[in-house]
């Protein structure tokens, strides 16, 4: 069936694609070397050849609803072998950026935050919110407390909750809307959505795959990226667990940071200070180890981006922004902890403030940043498994 929409030239979209890192896309002459070389592309209707022509033609809707761009792990084998230097790997990563923007809810916000020059505004927003909140709660916009460094004296836990819980909720709503639309659009595809398994079984298989990085491991040209990604992922997972653990400690055990061992509630629960100490040790170890893993991973990511791989792989600002933010959240977090232990109040509190800003950036802008790939990719891989488009 002919598409009911009538195609007209959309030069603006093509310009934005090129700006997003797909400068080379026009060079493709459809030989399909990329599709042949790609270890992750299915035999039937493989990517990235067709995505290249969609990009050249500026077929916005087809690209936004395309699940295949998410099956790509950007290992860049395709770019290495491309006879025309069309860089399919880079083009696909630009397409993913565009797809995130196009599918984001609310859409306008995605576009604004996608702009590299908007990063300062994006960072200013949480700073202002935090300062207003502090003013309301403590009477000061920015006041470094006296005595031993305890972050809740500077920025009470209740503020963290009142800000971050609604933000997380909004993020979830945004994702539900955009992924819902994305999932529905997949039904237009020639591959039947429910060809095999249920959503749950598909999702479980997908998570297994993500945890093992089995697809990513098939990359050849860009192998080092697999470990970097693995460490960053595990680091984040560890920190996510730690955060929820902290919530449990606070509301479940009524034991507040910095978790004094003589806290009667804690002693009552654990029976002795020693037992509480062991519990706290494991908890802290989890948090610190996760931070360390994330730090190593993010440093590796930087190194990989800087290192010349012998083929052209353009890292877009979209990509760099995320890499910097991950690194920043890690460094500010670790430094906050170190400075707190050193009791250097004048440095520790500002560092903590900076850390909160970066955390806000990462969480609040999740549906619009490159990090949204974790949701889209998970969805697309689940779909691929259910539509029998999975490469084993």
């Amino acid at each position: 069936m002919a598409d009911e929409t009538v195609l007209t030239p959309d030069l603006g979209f093509i310009k934005s694609l090129k700006g997003a890192g797909a400068e080379t896309m026009k060079k493709c002459y459809q030989c399909a070397t990329c599709s042949v070389i790609c270890p992750l592309s299915p035999d039937d209707n493989p990517f990235p050849r067709k995505e290249m022509i969609m990009a050249q033609w500026g077929l916005k809707d087809d690209l936004a609803n395309n699940p295949d761009i998410w099956l790509c792990h950007n290992c860049n084998d395709c770019s290495k072998y491309c006879p025309r230097g069309a860089g399919p790997g880079d083009v696909l990563s630009a397409l993913r950026k565009i797809a995130i923007q196009e599918n984001a809810f609310p859409k306008g916000l995605g576009k604004i935050l996608g702009e590299p020059k908007m990063i300062w505004l994006a960072l200013l927003i949480p700073a202002i919110i935090f300062m207003i909140a502090m003013k309301i709660k403590t009477g000061y916009f920015f006041q470094i407390p006296e005595g031993e460094v305890v972050f809740s004296k500077f920025f009470p836990i209740s503020l963290v909750d009142t800000i971050f819980v609604p933000i997380a909720l909004l993020v979830t709503i945004s994702f539900v809307v955009s992924i819902g639309r994305f999932w529905k659009s997949l039904n237009k595809n020639p591959y039947k959505l429910m060809a095999s398994g249920t959503i749950l079984s598909g999702l479980i298989a997908t998570i297994k795959e993500i945890v093992s990085h089995s697809k990513f491991d098939k990359c050849d040209a860009n192998k080092d990226r697999v470990w970097a990604h693995r460490l960053v992922l595990f680091g984040f997972v560890g920190l996510f667990i730690t955060t929820n653990w902290a919530v449990f400690n606070l509301y479940g055990l009524n034991w507040e940071s910095p978790y004094p061992l003589n806290d009667p509630d804690a002693v009552a629960i654990f029976g002795s200070e020693a037992a509480a100490g062991l519990y706290r040790g494991v908890f802290k170890l989890t948090g610190n180890a996760s931070a360390a893993i994330l730090l190593i991973g993010s440093i590796m990511m930087f190194a990989n981006r800087v290192k010349d791989k012998g083929f052209s792989s353009v890292s877009s600002s979209f990509d760099w922004t995320l890499a910097i933010m991950v690194f920043a959240v890690c460094v500010t977090g670790i430094l906050s902890e170190v400075l707190r232990l050193a009791n250097a109040a004048s440095l520790a509190y500002p560092m903590y403030f900076a850390h909160l800003i970066v955390v806000f950036y990462i969480i609040a802008y999740l549906p619009f940043s490159k990090l949204a790939h974790m949701v889209y990719r998970t969805t697309a891989i689940t779909y691929a498994k259910m539509a029998n488009r999975d490469v084993v």
Binding site: M1, A2, D3, E4, T5, V6, L7, T8, P9, L11, I14, K15, K18, K26, K27, Y29, Q30, N45, K50, I53, M54, Q56, W57, G58, L59, D62, R84
Partner: protein, 744 residues
């Protein structure tokens, strides 16, 4: 011929002396063949060896030289004796005998003996050429004043020739003058160019060796190279001039767009051809013809009729570049506009690939392999084109303000109203019913367009397909089937102006070469050394007209009774007329029907065993055997090769000669014929096969199996197939059994 004195010189080098009994060969030469002089030499092509021959020419009165050594295709510089004084015959003992047969076998010796017998016979029957040299006119007439004609005229003039340039319209420049822009022809292939035709026009106008006739058409050409009488017509007045050679550069015309209604032409105002697009761009903006709205979206349909059996069955080779160019200037003239190009295959030959790349890089040029499924006019006046986007495997609707049909090129030699895919064979014309004494017959009446040749066969250049002038495309581009008339540019096959410039230069060179050869009474090609001409014993002519019809080059005209009238300078010496003549009245000084008959008769056919004579074309089959020999392939020993100028010269009497002598089979090895023919004389191998078709009925009547005579097609690069071809034919003849006439 008492003054004949044959000298036989046998070389024993290159393995000949080791593999053959040379004394036996000498006995054949001096004994049964009665050659008065026969010498052997261990290195005949050396100065010392050649001097042995020269001594005999000067002191012994030898005037017919039989060199029994290597292939006639090698050492031509060594055995180069004055063809006006001496006959030189090369007997191939090396490639055709010792390199393809086991040494010192009886069968090997028999082949060498027969080859020597045939060579001495041929030399005995041949005479030195008698040149026919006349004063010739060296002016070159260039027909057509477009980029090709202008270039040809300038090239000829720069080489010192007088030139007459004839142009039908009132101004020079042709299509190039009408182009808004040209596509790039040099690095970096990214910028469009302004056509530079004006400079060329000025150069032609300012050249005192070039006489330009505008508003002029040719009303008649008669004569032959070096002496064509051309009548020019100009607004009712006419003038006759003499010229030596002609370059036809009349170019192309677009395919009739009214036949493209299925692509919306004529139905929607906003569907235009690429030529109309060029005109529109020359006016400065691309806009909708229907309402003048500036075009935001232009869609190009490639192969608008090309590569379609219903329209133009061939690729016009330029339209992809033209559409890329037009897409580029759509974008230049309006940076917000987009250009879609829907192609069957994007064909940008050679370095034009770089232009394709440059165009592809443009943000607003969208390319895909695809198919136009239909189109309709939208309410806003634009055209919605239904496209099967084959690179995406999906159908889509594209909105276009202007749809450009990339229509193809048709040669201007095709008269108006003729469809390239539906033409009469060989000569473009119409079939007419004619009353004759044998009843109503269909006769082809060729249609004159450009040259108005007063030739017996047709007024225009014969075509092979689609109206393009026929030529041996690979070996002799620019050649047409009319000697002295050379085609260049898009009249010859679709090409762009850049290629046309090269073509024009090539054709100019060929025209000059023709004049030079003609002035020496030599054939133009491929027998460029040949000063013999066909000679006619007209007292025996029965006016059957076979020679005048079959000559591939229209050499022969006719008087009113049908007796051939010679135009020797048109001749290329293939001997097709000689083969055609049932009366055997046509011969050359060194090539006659009797000569080949005598050679066949000189062969000693063994009483036992299957024995085959093989007529081979000297242009392809002969070197193919040489190549098999260079690769030391073994050939069946029961064959004897006789080389012909072309299989077209095959006279049916040789079939009778061979079979009546008890030879069991006759194999003709010649070039491929048909659409992709390789015959150096265009039709020679085809004429041979047609003649064989007739002889086979005769063989049936003689109670001889028609299969005893067979023609095979062999290209020079198929030499490796030769041993198997010979084995298969041998097996076939062996299965048929012995010739019943054997021993009579």
């Amino acid at each position: 011929m008492s003054e004949n004195k044959i000298g036989v010189y046998i070389c024993t080098d290159c393995g000949i002396g080791d593999a053959l009994d040379v004394e036996k060969l000498q006995q054949v030469a001096t004994g049964e063949m009665r050659a008065p002089v026969c010498k052997t030499h261990p290195f005949l092509c050396s100065d010392e060896g050649v001097n042995v021959i020269k001594e005999d020419l000067n002191n012994e009165g030898v005037n017919k030289i039989v060199v029994a050594a290597c292939s006639q295709r090698v050492n031509q510089d060594a055995f180069d004796f004055d063809t006006l004084k001496y006959v030189t015959e090369r007997v191939n003992l090396r490639e055709h005998v010792v390199w393809t047969q086991p040494p010192n076998e009886e069968t090997t010796q028999l082949i060498a003996d027969d080859n020597l017998r045939m060579g001495i016979t041929r030399a005995g029957k041949a005479e030195p050429a008698v040149p026919n040299i006349m004063d010739i006119n060296r002016t070159i007439m260039v027909v057509g004043g477009g980029v090709t004609g202008l270039t040809s005229a300038l090239e000829c003039a720069n080489a010192g020739q007088e030139v007459v340039l004839v142009e039908k319209s009132s101004e020079l420049g042709g299509w190039s003058k009408k182009m808004y822009k040209g596509y790039p022809t040099a690095e970096p292939y990214s910028e469009l160019t302004k056509p530079a035709i004006d400079k060329k026009i000025e150069a032609v106008k300012g050249n005192d060796k070039i006489k330009v006739h505008t508003n002029t058409e040719i009303s008649q050409i008669e004569g032959q190279p070096g002496m064509f009488n051309v009548t020019l017509g100009n607004n009712g007045s006419s003038e006759t001039i003499t010229i030596g050679a002609v370059v036809v550069a009349t170019g192309w015309k677009p395919y009739d767009p009214s036949k493209l209604e299925h692509l919306g032409y004529g139905k929607y105002k906003n569907v235009v051809t690429n030529v109309e697009m060029e005109e529109m761009a020359s006016k400065g903006a691309i806009s909708r013809p229907s309402d003048g709205k500036k075009a935001e979206s232009v869609l190009f349909v490639q192969c608008a009729g090309q590569r379609d059996a219903e329209h133009l069955p061939y690729c016009s080779s330029v339209c992809c570049n033209v559409s890329l160019k037009q897409a580029k200037y759509v974008r230049e003239l309006n940076p917000d506009a987009g250009a879609y190009i829907i192609y069957k295959d994007m064909r940008t030959p050679g370095l034009y690939e770089n232009f394709y790349k440059a165009a592809q890089d443009d943000d607003g040029i969208f390319l895909t392999k695809g198919e136009i499924l239909g189109m309709e006019e939208a309410s806003d006046g634009s055209i919605e084109v239904n496209v099967n986007h084959q690179l995406l495997g999906k159908e889509m609707k594209i909105k276009a303000d202007v749809v450009v049909l990339a229509a193809g090129m048709v040669t201007n030699l095709l008269p108006e109203g003729y469809e390239p895919n539906n033409l009469t064979e060989e000569y473009v014309g119409v079939m007419e019913q004619k009353e004759t004494q044998d009843g109503v017959i269909e006769e082809l009446m060729p249609t004159p367009t450009t040259l108005h040749l007063k030739y017996r066969q047709s007024p225009e250049l014969p075509h092979l397909k689609y109206g393009f002038p026929d030529s041996h495309f690979i070996c002799f581009p620019y050649e047409t089937r009319r000697t002295g008339i050379y085609a260049a540019g898009a009249v010859r096959h679709p090409m762009d102006s850049n290629q046309s410039v090269n073509d024009a230069t090539g054709a100019a060179l060929k025209a000059i070469q023709c004049l030079e050869q003609t002035s020496q009474g030599k054939a133009v090609h491929p027998r460029t050394w040949d000063q013999t001409f066909p000679e006619f014993r007209l007292d025996s002519c029965t006016q059957c007209r076979r020679c005048t019809v079959e000559c591939p080059f229209g050499v022969l005209d006719e008087d009113e009774k049908g007796t051939p009238k010679e135009n020797p300078y048109r001749c290329r010496r293939c001997g097709t007329c000689m083969g055609a003549c049932p009366q055997r009245i046509i011969s050359f000084k060194d090539y006659t029907v009797d000569m080949i008959s005598s050679m066949i008769k000189a062969i000693q056919v063994p009483d036992e065993g299957t024995f085959i004579v093989c007529l081979i074309c000297e242009n392809d089959a002969y070197p193919a055997i040489d190549m098999a020999a260079l690769n030391r392939m073994n050939l069946n020993p029961h064959f004897r090769f006789i080389s012909l100028r072309c299989l077209g010269g095959t006279n049916l009497v040789w079939v009778a000669d061979a079979l009546s002598k008890g030879i069991d089979g006759l194999l003709l090895v010649g070039c491929q014929y048909g659409d992709d023919y390789q015959c150096h004389y265009i039709k020679g191998s085809k004429m041979a096969s047609e003649r064989l078709g007739k002889v086979q009925e005769t063989l049936d009547r003689l109670m001889l199996e028609a299969e005893r005579v067979e023609q095979v097609q062999l290209a020079i690069n198929e030499w490796d197939k030769l041993p198997q071809i010979m084995e298969d034919f041998y097996k076939k003849i062996d299965d048929i059994g012995a010739n019943p006439y054997k021993g009579f």
